[in-house]
């Protein structure tokens, strides 16, 4: 097994529209009670995991929501260190790590200061109290994954303690979906999330309860921006030269489902939850994505193309549209 410090850099032409941390190593902290401004001026209370050895910010090193995107290489050892002044964890959603690294308080333990000993359930060899804890796992199949805090998840995940993990093929080659899989010229990730501004926003509202059981979000974000901001954000708005292939990774952090369309552009759904799909999902014009799911879309930019892509969020019954986020798709 290769140690993270010996890992080869990612290879090939960089297709990314975003800045990540890695490969294979990340060091995260915890920041709580930030105020993030929505496009209409409203502030939402936000928590996140900052990249403490880099920007001290979150995704793309220029915002706090989502948390940093972590890249790693299939088959290589990954080490993610979490330092936290309050009880938090990182659950690596879909990476199928072992129990000790699963980031569930009851079964894997917390990262917390010493004063929380005994107050938050299971405290044993897995629990790290008073100093940072390093999660350790081998990156599985190349693909798209999530990470998020698994402590009082109702609150912590909704407030922004989440990010994306991309596993590159074992060669480390960028622009290749998986070993033997399709190649791509440009790469985007749309991290879908929502806020329900009726949920308590005050500093004291740090524990879930009867006021956080009914979820009817009213802000709809892609990569942490909503409304007009989503239409101009460089990590969200898609542009590519005619004939270029584009990989779009969809990650659903919201608790409610969404329908994603690219404004009439057809695409192949090539993978979901970090595994290749069969060709039965080729030539689609929309895809439904539920909480916790990921779908990887591949398309070729047509000449002269201009459309508006829309992420339409539904209620948990799937019956009612709650709102949407949209952004342009343009041939350069």
């Amino acid at each position: 097994m290769t140690k993270p410090s010996d890992s080869p850099p990612l290879r090939g032409t960089d297709p990314r529209s975003f800045v990540s941390v890695g490969p294979n190593v990340a060091s995260l902290g915890v920041v709580m009670n930030q105020n993030t401004q929505m496009a209409d001026g409203q502030f939402i209370r936000t928590w996140y995991f900052p990249d403490t050895v880099g920007s001290n910010l979150g995704f793309n090193a220029d915002r706090i929501l989502p948390s940093p995107l972590i890249e790693c290489v299939q088959g290589q050892n990954v080490q993610v260190t979490l330092a936290s002044p309050m009880p938090h964890t990182i659950h690596f959603h879909g990476l199928d790590v072992d129990q000790a690294n699963d980031g569930v308080g009851n079964t894997s333990g917390f990262v917390a200061p010493l004063t929380w000993n005994g107050s938050f359930g299971r405290v044993d060899g897995y629990t790290n109290l008073g100093s940072p804890f390093t999660y350790n796992f081998v990156a599985p199949h190349a693909g798209t994954y999530m990470y998020h805090c698994h402590v009082d998840t109702v609150i912590h995940l909704e407030r922004g303690m989440f990010g994306t993990v991309i596993v590159r093929p074992s060669s480390g080659q960028q622009g290749l979906a998986w070993d033997g899989g399709p190649t791509f010229d440009r790469e985007f990730v749309w991290q879908l999330s929502t806020f329900d501004s009726t949920w308590p926003q005050g500093g004291g509202a740090t524990i879930s309860g009867p006021s956080t059981v009914r979820y009817r979000p009213d802000y709809f974000l892609i990569n942490g921006v909503d409304g007009a901001n989503a239409q101009t954000d460089s990590t969200v708005a898609i542009s590519a030269a005619p004939g270029e292939t584009v990989l779009l990774r969809l990650v659903q952090f919201s608790y409610v489902p969404a329908i994603v369309d690219l404004g009439g552009l057809t695409f192949d759904v090539i993978a979901s939850d970090g595994r290749p799909l069969a060709g039965s999902m080729a030539n689609q014009t929309q895809v439904a994505i539920a909480a916790g799911e990921r779908y990887d879309l591949l398309f070729t930019m047509p000449s002269g193309w201009s459309s508006t892509a829309t992420v339409t969020t539904r209620d948990i019954r799937g019956r009612t549209t709650l709102g949407s986020a949209s952004t342009p798709i343009t041939a350069t």
Partner: protein
Amino acid sequence: MTRSSSDSKGRRASISRRALLGGGLAGAAAFATPRLFRGVTAPRGVTSTLVAEAVTKTLIDGVEVDVWQLRDSAGAALGAVPSILALEEGESVTLEVSNQLPEPIDLMIPGVSTGPTTWIAAGASRQITFTAPTAGSYLAHGITQPDPDGEVARAMGLATPIVVHPAGGGKIFYTGGPTYDRDYTLFLQELDDRLNAAVATSGSGAYSMASYEPNYFFVNGLSVPATRTDRDTRLSNRLGDDVAVRLINGGQITYPMHFHGYHVDVIQRRAEGGTMLPETTVVEKDTVAIDLGASADVRLPIHQAGMFPMHTHYVPGVTANGTYVNPYGGGVVMMMTEILLDDDFETGDTTRWS
């Protein structure tokens, strides 16, 4: 130790019954659903009585809620363990439906032909005969005159899972399909206590589903911590097993079920209405969304040991009215199923997860 399906099922039932009797609220189920006799007496040509009734249930946090339930004549004796209407493909089934609710109902089984709707008056009963359909997971639920799709009825709990096995039985998803070593059926339900209060007072037309936002959530009628000790909801496995998990949505919200520690093979899915979704190849997923009235049969390969939760990623659904069970504050409910090695269960050691 290898157990036969019938041994396994029989023992699960008896232990769960003891847990209920001795466990007070910890064993209380929100909805009792009927148990027919899978593998024990193996009655082919199944006949059973289903009673639709209103009962008051005490939930895990002490709140009392009026619910509707379907139970069979053996259901009371078997306590609150939800049951599986386990059938074999092609066999004739007769259900005697007895309506003890205060308004007319009928029973429908989406994807199965049970004849035209025939309202069963309050206090009356009727027989429904049908042929068990293609192997897979189905749902039976009540409907009422103001609620012909049975949405309110399902929100009230008037539903029960049906599992159809291939003719001749065996540990196989469908004839010629993948095999498995052991199997679990998880019936997903929830309730919005505002709806229950309205319907209990004024009947099934008294609440608009547009206002439905549930605040209690159940698997097989149970919530955490009862799901951690019930033999039907605690997924107790051995390294190397292929485990069949049948996820059936008896409620009125989507359940995006996330497996920690494992990807599952999605073997077959049915949409609302019981129609098979086209799936030409096995798909590997770690999160499987089961929409209203839908089902998914998945195969869980136990490639690593450990204790892992499996839960809905509609995260409010792991709470009881928004509050987590210990250690997070309120001491109430969480919908979570544990996947662990069989030997842990055999020793009765549950202390490690409390």
